[in-house]
Subunit: 201 residues, 2 copies
DNA sequence: CCCGATACTGTCCTTTGGTCCAATAGCGGT
DNA sequence: ACCGCTATTGGACCAAAGGACAGTATCGGG
């Protein structure tokens, strides 16, 4: 059961940086997708009724293919419906500033497949582009932190990591906490998704 | 000359490296490319010295192919070196907010070639595709269970899922438990890895 | 010699996650 | 009417996770 989400008065927030910018008030419309089936129909209907306003889609279950279709149809933003208020405000800022909001995984795929098309190389042969990005994240960590980060990305619990590295579970927690801070991960699951190259929303 | 820039007010953004709830002051580094030859080398050198800062490339002669390469290398923005101050400020805002800045023509190409590539390649052949592999595992679950499984794979907490599906956290736990049993996952992190096609060791 | 980074450990505490015991209600098939 | 599956929720309980304070020790530079 699709229903719009109009609970967003943030349509006219000022740009993030605070640097004086032209208001150039752009109307934002949020479209919440509960089921993926009629996404495009919902969008076109909405576009008819709101005209030139910038449409941002909130998907309960983000899907890259769907996102592609919607962007081609003129959507200005696509993100997880469950994003935090802060996130949505950020999205609003960007779209307000004349931008598109796209998920990082989708972005990677766009880049990858585009490069592949250009180089006439099969898409499957390009794991390096994405893998490189995820490996870089760990570069900011110390040796020990990298070890626990990889262990977490593998699904290990703190206790297991402690046994693996032959240290106390307490110490593991210390490292884990440091990793969270440095990589801005909110919990181990998000960290795992990050390290494995599937950025959580 | 800067005809490139005419069609400019178009940016792309991804919820990258952690959408900050905090001030999240992101350091911006501008890299001006005078000759295109050593672009990648200059970039990697710069990245080494500035660490995790967001790099924005200013190209004297913008080139879509070059932009692709640089974005894959982790650049957060790419625009004409002759852009006006106002434009650059806009770029800064977007990147500051955690986004990528991409020219409109390049954006169109990305979308177009990606769609073309996706249309030609069978779903089963996609690399770390989202729908294909995960769909099989989720097939054994009920509709509701699939929804919570996907949400978990996305990094959502029980409370978040509860809000998403508009049910009690308690009910979410019930579904989560059922999913764990059916898919033989020992916790949500393992489930996420399974659904995303990275089976935990 | 002090300072910063790294590694390691401790306690107290709160929040989440997960499992166990239930119960109620709808819906479709036999 | 009965049965099985699905969805929903409640309470209790315990383990794991993570933050908020700590602390000690080593090592390489300025």
């Amino acid at each position: 059961m699709p229903r719009w989400l109009e609970a967003f008065p943030q349509a006219t927030v000022s740009p993030a940086g605070g640097i004086g910018k032209k208001p150039s008030v752009r109307t934002l419309v949020w479209l919440r997708l509960d089921d993926a089936t009629s996404a495009l129909d919902q969008l076109t209907a909405l576009q008819k009724s709101v005209g030139a306003a910038a449409v941002i889609v909130l998907a309960n279950q983000p899907d890259n293919e769907q996102a592609l279709v919607l962007f081609s149809a003129g959507v200005r933003g696509y993100c997880n419906a469950h994003a935090t208020a802060a996130n949505l405000r950020q999205v609003a800022n960007v779209v307000q500033a004349g931008g598109l909001w796209i998920g990082e995984t989708l972005m990677h795929r766009l880049l990858a497949s585009s490069q592949a098309a250009l180089a006439r190389i099969p898409v499957a042969a390009l794991p390096s582009a994405v893998a490189g990005a995820s490996g870089d994240r760990l570069a900011a960590l110390t040796k020990r932190e990298q070890e626990v980060a990889r262990a977490i990305a593998n699904g290990s619990s703190n206790k297991e990591i402690a046994r693996q590295l032959d240290i106390t579970e307490r110490t593991v927690k210390a490292h884990v906490g440091a990793v969270f801070q440095k990589l801005k991960a909110r919990d181990r699951l998000h960290l795992a998704l990050m390290v494995n190259g599937q950025r959580p929303a």
